[in-house]
Symmetry: C2
Amino acid sequence: MTPATDWRAELVEIDRSECLRRLGAHAVGRLGIVVHEQPLVFPVNYALDDETVVFRTDPGTKLHGATRGRRVAFEIDGIDPLYHEGWSVLVVGTAEEVSDPHERHQLAHLPLALWGAGPKAHWVRIRPDAITGRRLVHRSD
Amino acid sequence: MTPATDWRAELVEIDRSECLRRLGAHAVGRLGIVVHEQPLVFPVNYALDDETVVFRTDPGTKLHGATRGRRVAFEIDGIDPLYHEGWSVLVVGTAEEVSDPHERHQLAHLPLALWGAGPKAHWVRIRPDAITGRRLVHRSD
């Protein structure tokens, strides 16, 4: 018997507005794509633009798997391994490259830092179909 | 021009043995699955068993998407948003539920904590086809 199995815990839904607040307050998430029927997960730094997720990338797997209206997932979380607490927000939607010069100019003002290693000249926008979140709550009763 | 664009950084491959060491040293990762052609990403706590990734779950989306030989991704990372440094390890492979009682008994000895909210009676094992990793290195030259 491990102590953890005795903890009283339950998953509680995070409503959409709070999901968006958390998306706006974070800078790194994980992108889930499918390439040749193989799911892949990559960390990306991102910014929230209105209710869409925007990131920059170079030509490669991420750009291939997250453009042209392809279905993607984007996840952020806050996990505390010590106390076994945590929350996660999942965005599911479609991804497209931003090619319009005016739109790219506007995106350039987002607080989106580049982490080096390549010019990352391609902007990708994820338009959510659904934004859901949940957190693990420990009950004291 | 943002300061980050001036940083000299490059992505360096992490070799397989170091990927496995990092997988063995962590406890939480992100599972990437595909359900009805929609990629999904969920945080899971896990343990490394030999060179396979093992986690427990309840009936639901994760179990549906990560059993019966379905292709999955499993990612861990260490990201420092302040210093724009980080690394990630990606496991791609197939997932199956562990149903053999002897095998389940052996898995029960793994250091795999349960985070509450459901009995998580189903064990899932991810058998890697490939384990790759990379880290962002800042050069001083």
